[in-house]
């Protein structure tokens, strides 16, 4: 039984891994900087002025201008990274939707991982503690606790009624 289960799980894993590698491609097409190309980049940026709004959905005039700017930059042949870097230099790190993984900002990524690891470790410790206590108590199960036969019969009868 267990072997079948393990087998099917590993099969699953292989399927996932094999498709991972094959699924990266595409791009190109007519009229190069389409709205979609612009949005793809704008999505990774946050509006520098509005609170917590991604640039691709922001509707203010300023944001429309920024999107137009991205389009111009794409036309001039800038790469995605260059455009994003430009925005970071110009407006600061707050335009990045995904915080950087360097410097002080990396803490935002690291701490949750540490927390999860510490949590898992603590849970493990607790489990072991529970087990150890159990080992110490040991002992065999106690003998049947005596119950009056008449009462027992009545309980079983009433139990049957509510099942």
């Amino acid at each position: 039984m267990r072997r079948i289960l393990l087998g099917s799980l590993s099969l699953l894993l292989m399927l996932v891994l094999s498709t991972y590698s094959s699924a990266i491609a595409q791009e190109g097409g007519e009229g190069f900087p389409t709205d979609n190309d612009v949005n793809a980049i704008a999505k990774q940026l946050y509006c520098p002025v509005c609170p917590n709004t991604p640039l691709d959905v922001c509707e203010t005039k300023a944001c429309q201008d920024w999107r137009a700017q991205i389009r111009d930059q794409l036309e001039e042949g800038w790469t995605e990274d260059e455009i994003i870097d430009y925005f970071v230099v110009e407006y600061g790190e707050r335009v990045l939707a995904e915080p950087r993984r360097a410097g002080f900002t990396s803490l935002v990524w690291i701490l949750p991982l540490i927390a999860a690891a510490v949590g898992a470790g603590a849970a493990w410790q607790v489990l072991r503690l529970w087990r150890r206590r159990n080992d110490r108590e040991g002992a065999s199960p106690p003998d049947q606790i005596p119950v009056d036969a008449k009462a027992l019969e009545r309980i079983e009868r009433e139990l049957d009624e509510i099942r």
């Binding site: 119950v147 309980i155 139990l159 509510i162």
Partner: protein
């Protein structure tokens, strides 16, 4: 602030004070029962929870959610508790029976002992009363004369 609002406000204040003060005004001797009352569940409740617990346990066991050993131990334990509750209930019932008998006997005795109480409502009466002061029933001559 206009008069209407002040008046409504005063009314609310009065109601508030009355409701808050109410428990203190009410006869304090009756209310002085110890705050810590009824501990735990009554026997009947215990029996019922016990039965429910047994049913759950049996079903969990059937589905393999409780190990064999746990099942035995836990079941025995709940059975014991439930049996204890049953016993308590039976005792209680017996006590109630006895009580009823006792009460009836008492009542009979009081009624026989004297005509000092109204035969209809139980209000105390004077020997020479012709009517009950509480319910107004007329006492018969025999009763008025008494033994």
């Amino acid at each position: 602030m206009d008069l209407g609002a002040v008046l409504v406000g005063l009314a609310m204040l009065v109601v508030t004070v009355v409701v808050l003060a109410d428990p203190f005004v009410k006869s304090s001797d009756g209310g002085q029962r110890a705050y810590q009352s009824k501990r735990g569940l009554s026997a009947r409740m215990k029996k019922r929870t016990g039965l429910w617990a047994l049913r759950d346990l049996d079903f969990d066991h059937e589905l393999g959610k409780v190990s064999e050993q746990d099942y035995k131990v836990t079941r025995a334990q709940i059975l014991q508790e439930t049996a204890a509750a049953l016993e308590e209930i039976e005792k209680d019932e017996a006590a109630v029976e006895a009580n009823i008998e006792e009460e009836v006997r008492n009542l009979r005795r009081t009624a026989r002992e004297s005509g000092r109480y109204c035969h209809q409502c139980g209000q105390a009466r004077e020997q020479d009363d012709r009517f009950c002061t509480a319910c107004g029933v007329e006492f018969k001559m025999a009763e008025t004369l008494s033994e």
